[in-house]
């Protein structure tokens, strides 16, 4: 047999292998640089268009103006980001917790699932922008309606995924649990819950960005503070630079939230990721 050893040491790399290592390093570098170049060229195009077409600042700002605004008004932006952060994270926690609990109840009480799942579906068909005024009337002008909207928007995808995750366990594994005389509680914690985690996390990743959308939409209606309120104020004041800066801050937060959940997912599902991907 003349196959190469499993772990070649650095010294006996053939020239082919060296070339391969260099090529793959180059490919890695390329993957890093290309998106940066892409973003840079879009920014450049944006700046060029604003400059050549002499777009007035109340229609669209130049990227430099947005950068300056981000710096100059960082205090204002931060003050408005904090409530949005609190609302979306609170809504995220509340909505997903409710979804997980209700999914658990549905799995154990089929009659409740049959009776109330259609209700949940109907509530979900109401668009967020329509739900928002209803909740503002119900819950007033504080953070509560925004949290409620963010929670509602997270709730549905998580509920659906969690029910599917808890129910789609291998029927033979269920029979095994019965042969072992496992209690319902043991079946839940040893089998259903770990099985549902990949389903749960794919829902949580969606919820991480939709919760922020929910909070912002909530702030559009009768609010004076928050990213959503600032967007409305900047628009009516024709302060396009502030509008763009606000949007950028909002989406940066949304992105970080998503990345955080992805990171937690990777830590939680280290072993099963290969199995379920």
């Amino acid at each position: 047999m003349n196959h190469s050893p499993a772990h070649p040491s650095q010294t006996d790399l053939s020239s082919d292998e060296v070339a391969f290592a260099q090529a793959s390093q180059k490919a890695r570098l390329r993957r890093r640089i290309m998106p940066v170049l892409g973003v840079a060229s879009v920014l450049l195009l944006w700046a060029a268009l604003v400059y050549w077409l002499k777009v007035p600042p109340f229609i669209a700002p130049s990227p430099q103006m947005v950068a300056v605004t981000l710096w100059d008004k960082s205090g204002l932006l931060w003050t408005n980001l904090v409530p949005t952060m609190i609302e979306s994270v609170a809504g995220f926690l509340l909505g997903n917790l409710a979804a997980i609990v209700i999914a658990t109840v549905f799995v154990h009480k089929k009659t409740l699932e049959e009776a109330f799942f259609p209700v949940v579906v109907v509530i979900n068909t109401i668009p967020v922008v329509a739900k928002a005024p209803i909740l503002v009337l119900l819950l007033g002008n504080g953070m509560e309606p925004k949290i409620a909207i963010a929670a509602l928007i997270c709730f549905f995808p998580t509920l659906v995924n969690m029910v599917r995750g808890l129910e789609s366990v291998n029927p033979q594994a269920m029979e095994l649990m019965r042969v072992l005389s496992a209690s319902k509680r043991e079946v839940f914690f040893k089998l259903r819950l770990p099985h549902s985690l990949p389903y749960l996390f794919s829902a949580l990743k969606i919820a991480a960005s939709t919760a922020v959308i929910g909070a912002i939409v909530g702030e559009w209606i009768g609010s004076t503070l928050g990213i959503g309120a600032l967007i409305i104020q900047a628009t009516y004041a024709f302060d396009s630079a502030l509008l763009y800066a606000t949007v950028i801050v909002g989406s940066c937060f949304s992105m970080s939230f998503f990345l955080l959940i992805s990171l937690i997912e990777r830590l939680a599902l280290r072993q099963t990721s290969q199995q379920n991907s």
Partner: protein, 260 residues
């Protein structure tokens, strides 16, 4: 013979399933026994209710009529006493647990093992099925045959006196299947556990079983319980002897009469 001399004793067992369109009789008046320490294979075409019969013995399905006695107890009592081990067609391992953690599952649920149990070490059982050194591997890192070995080790934890196996090697390639057949005979001899083994392979049924229960389909009925006249020590080469071929032909002829 007193009833506790049997590992399993089924008398006049009938099982009906009601589906949305019609009622199906899966088992019709089935009676058979497995002697203590015996190895009985259930052989029949698909639809003969052999998996159903195995689930009746495991207390996963309650028969409509008839009596089932497992080790002198009711099936439910035997299950709760952990007198049964079950090996499924699909290994049914939990993908987030290592091989060792999978074997240890019976320790963690249903009140764990009885104090008097034999085979209480998951590590020793993995060694028994030839998987020393694979304790920390996850199911997706193991081959199909290795996964089934883990499932067998898990079923043997606590030293059940009866092992129920539902076509455990059905999805494996022939070479792996042959090797596991040989090893299962060895495990049976080493552990002294009674085994009830479902298969649709004539060769597997004859090679593994001390006795073969031949079933006919639609509805599932017993054709005959045949005693296999082969030595206790069996190697795969045995399957090429004229005597084995004769036995297989006999079983096949019985199946031929019942399969349209």
């Amino acid at each position: 013979m007193a009833s506790h001399d049997y590992a399993v004793s089924c008398q006049n067992v009938t099982v009906r399933f009601v589906t949305e369109e019609r009622a199906v009789t899966a088992l019709d008046d089935v009676s058979f026994t497995v002697p203590a320490g015996g190895f009985l294979t259930l052989l029949g075409p698909s639809g003969c209710g052999k998996s159903t019969l195995l689930r009746v013995v495991a207390d996963l399905i309650t028969p409509g009529s008839g009596t089932v006695e497992v080790l002198g107890k009711t099936a439910a009592q035997a299950r709760m006493d952990r007198s049964l081990g079950f090996v499924f067609q699909d290994a049914a391992l939990l993908p987030w647990r290592t091989a060792l953690e999978n074997v240890a599952l019976p320790l963690e649920v249903g009140g764990g093992l009885k104090p008097s149990s034999r085979f209480t070490s998951p590590r020793d059982l993995l060694a028994l099925v030839g998987l020393s050194g694979w304790e920390q591997s996850y199911p997706h890192q193991l081959s199909g045959g290795m996964r089934q070995r883990v499932a067998i080790a898990r079923a043997l934890l606590g030293g059940p006196r009866l092992l129920l196996m539902d076509e455990p090697f059905g999805a494996l390639d022939e070479m792996t299947r042959d090797r596991l057949n040989e090893e299962l005979r060895r495990i049976w001899a080493e552990t002294g556990t009674s085994i009830l083994f479902v298969t649709h392979s004539v060769y597997e049924a004859a090679y593994l079983g001390e006795q073969v229960l031949v079933l006919s389909p639609n509805p599932g009925r017993v054709v005959r319980q045949v005693t296999i006249d082969l030595p206790r020590e069996r190697s795969l080469a045995l399957r090429d002897t004229p005597h084995f071929v004769e036995i297989a032909a006999e079983l096949r002829a019985m199946l031929g009469k019942v399969t349209p």
